[in-house]
């Protein structure tokens, strides 16, 4: 059952002149949720883009057992969807219109709106709970609703593998949970392979089967949440001191930064 959905061998990616990722190997298993964590600028987005062939890179990327160099961009888009960080839609575009555009890789010149297209758009809107917003312009939605509209677009692509770059950033705690629960539901009921970049370590610990911690373009730690989310790794990767305890509810590791609350600090301050 443990079969590779997406993998990289000797991946080298960079932007004009400087290499961000220099020789990375990775195998992501089918039907699993993987979270990528790491400090700002460590190369998480770069890795996601290289894995989805949006950035030119050296080395091999294997998708569904095939070298992506042998697949057309359209074929890749039918197997893998990726939602970039902070996308923006044209002013006035409605949610339904945006989600329908996720069908592009499945459409042909004479087949612009098949029954499968329509079914996929409906399903994506339902799964994301965006049905009631279908006719609304995206620029009139809240940040959280907007994010869900974009996720719906990626879902309408109906790919087996879904990559998301910081899908919960800017969302309140309720919407964060909603988006993550939606991804888990998609993973459990539809068997999708999910890879997501997260900044919230507790979310990574709770929702992912596997956590990959990146540091300056390399994989610094890789394993189950229990193995990766430890005080040592956090010190090495983020340079922070933190306590890691077991979440009393789920048992997943829970990160508590070892900072001193202001009230305690004020009390310790010599009075003037």
């Amino acid at each position: 059952m443990d079969e590779e959905a997406l993998g990289a061998r000797g991946l080298v990616v960079g932007y004009r002149g400087h290499e961000v990722i220099d020789g990375l190997d990775l195998a992501l298993m089918r039907g699993r949720i993987t979270a990528i964590i790491g400090a700002n600028g460590c190369g998480k987005s770069t890795l996601l883009w290289a894995l989805s062939r949006l950035l030119p890179s050296e080395g091999t990327v294997v998708l569904d057992g095939r070298d992506t160099a042998t697949l057309s961009t359209r074929e890749i888009a039918r197997r893998l969807s990726v939602l970039p960080q902070g996308p923006s839609a044209p002013e006035g575009l409605t949610v339904a219109d945006l989600v329908a555009r996720g069908r592009y890789p499945h459409q042909k010149w004479l087949r612009q709106w098949s029954e499968a297209d329509e079914a996929a758009v409906r399903e994506a809107l339902e799964r994301t709970n965006m049905t009631a917003f279908a006719g609304r312009p995206i620029d009139e939605l809240s940040g959280g609703q907007r994010q869900k509209a974009w996720i719906a677009m990626a879902l309408a692509q109906r790919t087996d593998t879904v990559l998301l770059d910081e899908p919960t950033t800017y969302l309140d705690i309720g919407h964060q949970a909603e988006v993550l629960d939606l991804l888990v539901e998609l993973n459990v009921s539809a068997g999708r392979t999910i890879v997501l970049v997260l900044h919230d370590l507790n979310q990574a610990a709770r929702y992912a089967d596997r956590v990959i911690a990146m540091e300056r373009g390399r994989i610094a730690a890789d394993g189950t949440p229990d193995e990766v989310i430890t005080a040592e790794t956090l010190r090495a990767v983020f340079g922070v001191e933190a306590h890691v305890v077991a979440d009393p509810h789920s048992g997943a590791p829970l990160v508590i930064p070892a900072s001193v609350p202001p009230a305690v600090r004020r009390a310790a301050q010599p009075t003037s």
Partner: protein, 371 residues
């Protein structure tokens, strides 16, 4: 690739009331599905309605502009003259007024189409062939050719075309920085246009008076003197660019989501953009080469079309129809408003379009843009 489609059945069960609301929202936002064997598309009733209404108004305006003139004709006389007939009235209609109306409509349609393509491509309503240098480029080359005494239709049309293409290409290349940003494209366009217009003025200054006047008149843009020969060039331009643009419409829609998302959806980015820019330039250049620069139609027509359709992009054909409508209306107004004298259509559109641009800039200035 198809295996994943079966999984759709596992979606959450829909509440019927919500389902109907969704049906309506999808119909409104996307149009009705039209499907046959091996074929499927979406048809938006509202877009069809807007397009047909605009076509009807266009037709009425065209007939009116044929009826009115130094020698007024009644509707039935015009109809007679168009479908056969002979004598003075038919001569006036067939030789002058009909080609002028048809040519004007075609020139406007090409501009509307070009504007729709550029505005979507740059994700900015201020992007239009005027801003990108199609018109100034055509003007420079035309003025140079006229000064050199090369005044044949073929030379002028070809030259204007080449000028438009070269200046637009220059703007595009200068604005390219690992992708195209709408605002940068517009700012570079303004700079390049200023240089090219300066060059045109310099050439006009060097030219002898008679030539300079002729060239100057061309730069004002006008449909006066359009004959069937020119109509044929315009029709050919539209016959090539309209199918091309509609064929590329799905790519254009995808591109408007931004480079990252468009590539994630499997769009060959650079190739699509090149094809679309090429189509947009071709359309505008064909219009300018034949009818001279007519300002603002490319800017305004797509916006009217899209506002009425209720979708921010798409509506390529409707934009073309509105371009035609505006061109014929402006030409008609230019002939009627000034009594004996005739105001060239380019001046009418500039006078009417300027305030629109100011309005747009003010509106955009007051809210955030993603340029």
């Amino acid at each position: 690739m198809t295996a994943s489609l079966d999984r759709g059945a596992m979606g959450p069960a829909a509440d019927p009331a919500l389902g109907r609301a969704l049906d309506r929202a999808l119909d409104r936002a996307l149009g009705r599905a039209v499907r046959g064997p091996g074929f499927s598309a979406r048809l938006a009733p509202r877009a069809l309605l807007v397009a047909s209404a605009a076509l009807a108004v266009l037709l009425a305006l065209a007939v009116a502009s044929i009826c009115f003139g130094d020698y007024p004709l009644r509707f039935d006389q015009v109809v007679d003259a168009i479908f056969g007939g002979s004598g003075g009235q038919s001569y006036i209609v067939q030789r002058f007024r009909l080609p002028r109306a048809v040519g004007g409509a075609l020139a406007g349609a090409l501009l509307g189409l070009s504007g729709a393509v550029f505005q979507t491509l740059a994700r900015n309503v201020l992007a239009s062939p005027d801003v990108l240098g199609v018109e100034t480029g055509a003007a420079l080359v035309t003025v140079i050719l006229m000064t050199l005494g090369l005044t044949g239709t073929a030379a002028l049309t070809g030259g204007a075309f080449a000028g438009a293409a070269v200046v637009t290409a220059a703007v595009y290349v200068l604005a390219y920085r690992r992708g195209i940003n709408g605002m940068r494209l517009i700012l570079v366009g303004i700079g390049v246009n200023a240089c090219v217009t300066g060059g045109t003025s310099y050439v006009l200054m060097l030219a002898e008076v008679h030539t300079a006047e002729r060239a100057h008149n061309w730069t004002l843009g006008g449909f006066n003197g359009l004959g069937w020969e020119q109509v044929a060039v315009l029709a050919a331009g539209l016959a090539v660019t309209l199918p091309l643009a509609t064929g590329l419409a799905a790519r254009l829609r995808t591109l408007s989501l931004g480079d990252g998302v468009a590539r994630a959806l499997g769009l060959p980015l650079e190739r699509s953009r090149l094809l679309l820019v090429g189509t947009g330039v071709l359309a505008a250049a064909a219009s300018v080469a034949v009818a001279g620069p007519v300002a603002f139609i490319a800017l305004v027509a797509p916006q009217i079309a899209r506002r009425l359709i209720g979708r921010p992009d798409g509506g390529l054909v409707t934009s073309a129809i509105f371009g035609a409508l505006l061109a014929v209306a402006a030409d008609f107004a230019g002939r009627q408003l000034a009594g004996d004298a005739e105001i060239p259509v380019g001046i009418v559109t500039a006078l009417a379009g300027g305030p629109w641009l100011v309005y747009l800039l003010m509106k955009r200035g007051s809210r955030s843009t993603d340029g």
